[in-house]
Symmetry: C2
Subunit: 170 residues, 2 copies
Amino acid sequence: MALGTGYDAQGCFLARALEVVGERWTLLILRDCFYGVRHFSDLLAHLDVSRGVLTDRLDTLVDAGVLERHPAGRSVEYLLTEAGEDLWPTVFSLSRWGERHLTADHPGRIFGHAVCGTDIEDSGLCPRCGTVPTVRELDVRPAPGRNARRREDPVAIALRTRHRMLDPLP
Amino acid sequence: MALGTGYDAQGCFLARALEVVGERWTLLILRDCFYGVRHFSDLLAHLDVSRGVLTDRLDTLVDAGVLERHPAGRSVEYLLTEAGEDLWPTVFSLSRWGERHLTADHPGRIFGHAVCGTDIEDSGLCPRCGTVPTVRELDVRPAPGRNARRREDPVAIALRTRHRMLDPLP
DNA sequence: CTGTATCCTTAAAGATACTG
DNA sequence: CAGTATCTTTAAGGATACAG
């Protein structure tokens, strides 16, 4: 939501949050980060966004403390901070909402509570433990019958090599 | 996030959801709806958005089945549909994220599980019942020490006359 | 590989006046 | 009260070429 003007005037917390994550592409960038995408070039390819816009969004997220820039060899890795990881419920709930109300499809991925192996509900609740796991306590797997459709994009590649969300890549 | 171009190309559910609720102002409009604001003029005054933009956003939300237009006397009421109510976890989690990570303030409002009177956690969980209540099962109250600061805007007025979320006004 | 810098085109937003 | 219609301004986005 192309930011600020008017939002800041509101004392409201939601408005302030939207100044950080409410712009176009931002939530999709973060979703990729949750799925293990870390490099500028991968985001560029996967999201089909222009370089200038991607630079701008990453700058905003780094400035807001949602992502951290980590030099890695001759490359750069963008990693979620703790504040960034706390955005998971928002990404999760909005994505699930899209699945339930905007398509006839079943979920594309299924999220399980890693410590007990139980799938979480749409509300985020683990029915066995009675808790709402954080993103670090979740694992992901593709829903049945969807594997064939998946392309070889950076998200698919990242998820194939590790199923636990936000664990370090091998 | 000024919509569509590029989003639709992605099969991703999050992208589709963002085409409906990802544009500027949309989530703030919905937040007001959750708090009981129903009229075009009240949204216009409270959000300080231009008429044209508000019309456009409401049209998008009605077309997507998030809001319904109800003629009421010589006026019109915009009411959340069931699909609209399901957006509560997104609005709630993003708002809470803003409170926790973008300000030094305490929450402005506190949400309680109506049937048991227990405050819900940031995750949405009711610690006493072990469930994640829907928005219809919640009540709201202002956090201590904030009453003085509140202005006489449509949200404040709506919340003063009824504390249960989404129940019919008297 | 990760950006910067420019240019260009389109689209979004505000203001205002007007209508059923 | 709830929009519509027009106009003007501004901003955002894409494309491309280039640099550290």
